[in-house]
């Protein structure tokens, strides 16, 4: 077996494209996640544009009904699985090891494997456009619409198999971060000293590890129904379409918290920094997060109030859903408490964080209104729901992610995003977002159903739809400003290691951080470690102006780059691709995975020192 390892010599260079392909450095993997997810964000954004263009006027025929179904399906699937989740994972990768004082994640090669499987899974999903067999049953793909008689091309197979491939990536990544956070904290970093973002990452990862197997089973049963003749979800043969809904939402509701908890963590880092005071009620925020993580498993049927589960089930899930609003409200009050009497500095990151709090409250309130099952009967499948999910996922998750980009960009690149452009970016996105989604509340209550490709002028929905489409244009310009802001940093000057006077451990080292992160593993002094360090220095009559000194990288033994993660990921992707085309390809993929695992197992995590 050793011969397999020696056939391909171990990569030793960190430079150039191969340096990126074989990297196991968490910071580089984080950047790869971020860039990939950003490309998917643009794709999903353009799909949203097609939807808004079609709905901008009554009786429009810009695209056909079938194409419209493909657009909203791919928009939502991409946004959930290929944009918000990987953008959060990008922050996990970049920030977590730095914030807990570690040199890398617990399993650097597994981390690289997660990224490559995610990338190939996303590409596999989008291959459906090339063969023009695009998934078109909505992001929750309700049975029995997804069965062969109603969906004859392979679109739903692309959907299910790509999600299975990406699911392995998510679970592998989450396993890695659970172990990293529990096991790689620097001395002094007790659980109750961890930054809230680290806590939220831990809770999110536990949710991922437990929720994804459930959807995996649902997807496997769907693939078997479509390809191997089973009748899991076909009523005519005794199957039960509602079982799909249960499996989907038992996964799907924890998934909602997987999407929102990381941005909540990001915001909990940014608000204290720019209020210049510690987070108010830290233990309450942490325990609220834990309670949300547990209760998130007991509310899934509020997505199914109109299915006909009966008054008992509907009442129980109404009550549990109302209860889960309590810990969420606790968090919001603690954020407001953090702002109270702080000396607030309106940086772009802070403005996005404040936007998060404001818009998430709006989304939360509409959420409470359909937690009540009788009221939900009026709202189910209307644009009111579309408004709600965009307030929590765009106003919430995406605003939190934007805030995080502006906050940590100087740490990862050593360059500052322009603040003036940032503020223009913020206001365009903020106004565009409200212009697009606020009218949808009224459209929904006026009876406009979701997922219709056009509507008659008689219904009187045209003006509000035009407003929403105009809002899209504003959002689009806002995104262009954001992209330009990223682009123009190539000429901007370098910033200090701690431009925000921030409390986190990650700000003690230089920007961008060296490959080994910390020359010496720090001793953590408290919850706001770097603030304590700086205050102690000031009390002693000095000021800390410099980051931790750099050392010769070869003196620190770091995990070496490896070909095996991308090699194994190719095998996983081929297994999925083969199920969609020819089973022989799956067989080849399986052989590649086995070779990859053997090669991986025989390769030490870090090359022997004499290679340096």
């Amino acid at each position: 077996m050793a011969s397999i390892t020696s056939v391909i010599p171990r990569p030793t260079s960190y430079a150039g494209i191969w340096g990126w392909i074989t990297t196991v450095d968490h910071k580089r993997i984080g950047v790869l996640y971020g860039l990939t997810a950003f490309v998917f964000l643009l794709i999903a954004g353009l799909e949203a544009g097609v939807i808004r263009m079609q709905l901008a006027s009554a009786d429009n025929d810009f695209i056909s009904a079938g194409r419209f179904n493909q657009m909203f399906t791919m928009h939502a699937t991409t946004m959930v699985f290929m944009v918000i989740m990987p953008l959060s994972v990008s922050f996990f990768n970049i920030v977590i090891p730095l914030a807990i004082g570690a040199r890398d994640v617990a399993f650097p090669r597994l981390n690289a494997l997660s990224f490559w499987i995610f990338l190939f899974g996303g590409i596999l999903m989008h291959m459906s456009f090339i063969v023009d067999q695009v998934p078109d049953a909505g992001w929750f793909s309700y049975a029995n619409l997804t069965e062969k008689p109603f969906s004859v091309n392979r679109g739903l197979d692309f959907w299910a198999i790509s999600l299975l491939v990406m699911g392995t990536s998510s679970v592998a990544g989450a396993l890695n971060f659970i172990v990293t956070i529990l096991n790689l904290r620097a001395p002094g970093m007790s659980m109750m000293r961890m930054p809230v973002f680290v806590w939220m990452t831990l809770i999110t990862s536990i949710l991922l590890v437990l929720a994804f197997p459930v959807i995996t089973v649902g997807l496997i049963e769907l693939v078997m129904d479509r390809n191997f003749g089973t009748h899991f979800f076909i009523p005519a043969e005794g199957g039960d379409p509602v079982l799909w809904q249960h499996l989907f939402w038992v996964f799907g509701h924890p998934e909602v918290y997987i999407l929102i908890l990381p941005p909540m963590g990001i915001v909990s880092e940014i608000l204290p920094t720019f209020s210049r005071k510690p987070l108010f009620g830290y233990p309450f925020i942490v325990f609220s997060g834990i309670v949300i993580g547990i209760m998130g498993w007991a509310v899934w049927s509020h997505h199914m109030f109109t299915v006909g589960l009966g008054p008992v089930a509907n009442s129980v899930f109404t009550i549990t859903t109302m209860l889960i609003a309590v810990p969420t409200g606790v968090k919001i009050f603690n954020w407001i408490g953090t702002l109270w009497r702080g000396s607030i500095e309106f940086t772009t990151a802070m403005m996005f964080a404040l936007g998060f709090v404001a818009l998430f409250i709006v989304g939360g309130l509409s959420g409470v209104s359909h937690a009540v099952s009788p009221s939900d009967f009026q709202q189910q499948d209307t644009y009111y729901i579309v408004a709600h999910i965009h307030y929590v996922l765009f106003g919430g998750s995406m605003f939190g992610i934007f805030a995080g980009v502006y906050y940590w960009f100087p740490k990862i690149t050593g360059k500052m995003l322009d603040e003036t452009l940032g503020k223009i970016n913020f206001w365009l996105i903020f106004i565009g977002m409200n212009l697009t989604f606020f009218p949808m509340h009224f459209l929904g209550l006026n009876g406009m159903p979701r997922r219709i490709y056009t509507y008659s002028a008689e219904f009187g929905w045209e003006n509000l739809n035009q407003l929403a489409s105009a809002g899209y244009v504003v959002l689009f310009i806002g995104m262009l400003v954001f992209m330009y802001n990223m682009w123009q940093t190539r000429n901007s000057r370098r910033v200090s290691h701690d431009p925000w006077d921030a409390p986190g451990v990650e700000w003690t080292i230089s920007s961008p951080p060296p490959p080994y992160n910390f020359a010496e593993i720090p001793q953590i002094l408290g919850r706001d470690h770097y603030w304590i360090v700086k205050e102690n220095a000031e009390a002693a009559g000095t000021r800390i102006m410099e980051p931790e000194a750099l050392v010769d990288p070869s003196s620190i033994h770091m995990p070496s780059p490896s070909y095996w993660p991308i090699f194994t990921a190719v095998g996983v992707a081929l297994i999925g691709g083969g199920l969609l085309s020819h089973y022989a390809i799956s067989f080849v993929g399986g052989v590649i995975v086995i070779m990859g695992v053997i090669g991986w197992g025989n390769e030490p995590a870090a090359a022997p020192s004499d290679h340096h």
Binding site: F107, M189, V209, L210, P213, V214, V217, F232, G238, P604
Partner: protein, 206 residues
Amino acid sequence: MAHAVEHEYTTTGLNHRKMLMWVFLGSDCLFFGSLIATYMVYRGQSLVGPYPVDIIDVPLTTISTFVLLMSSFAMVQALAATNADNKRGIVSWLLATAFLGAIFIGFQIYEFNAFKNEGLTLGGNLFGASFFTLTGFHGAHVTLGIIWLLAMAVLGAKGRLGSKTSLDVELVGLYWHFVDIVWIVIFTLLYLIGGFDAGPAVPPGG
């Protein structure tokens, strides 16, 4: 990975790989939990036969269940031999574990084939679909475990396993015992309790 530094610092004092395995097994619980839930939801819902009472052979599967339980005993012995640096013991107990697992898989192949001949298929009824999916994925887990055990036996024969690297054996042991426990749940639910189910509890449309 076998060469990883053994005394690396961890905050909790637990080894990274051991923690990873435990969390992964937690994840796998939900996987089998969902498959078992599917079986339970569709219990007694098949519109046409064959029904469990027609084909399930409890005594036969009791034998294969006993074989799988004994493989866990062999696994425990393999770990004990590893901790005692008994090279011959390591290899022979690992091979014994794999062999007993292979006998279990042999029983399963025989059973699947017999059921197919009696008319139980994936597409025939819900019982066939949920039975084959659940036990099939369990069998795949066992097969993966056998491959892992054989790979470890090769390492053992090369002298790369011992008390210093006992974690390598412990991890495959954790996985093996987990798969064994899952089978006990499946055997109880599908054979001892569900194995005597006759036609639909409620007539179709009723």
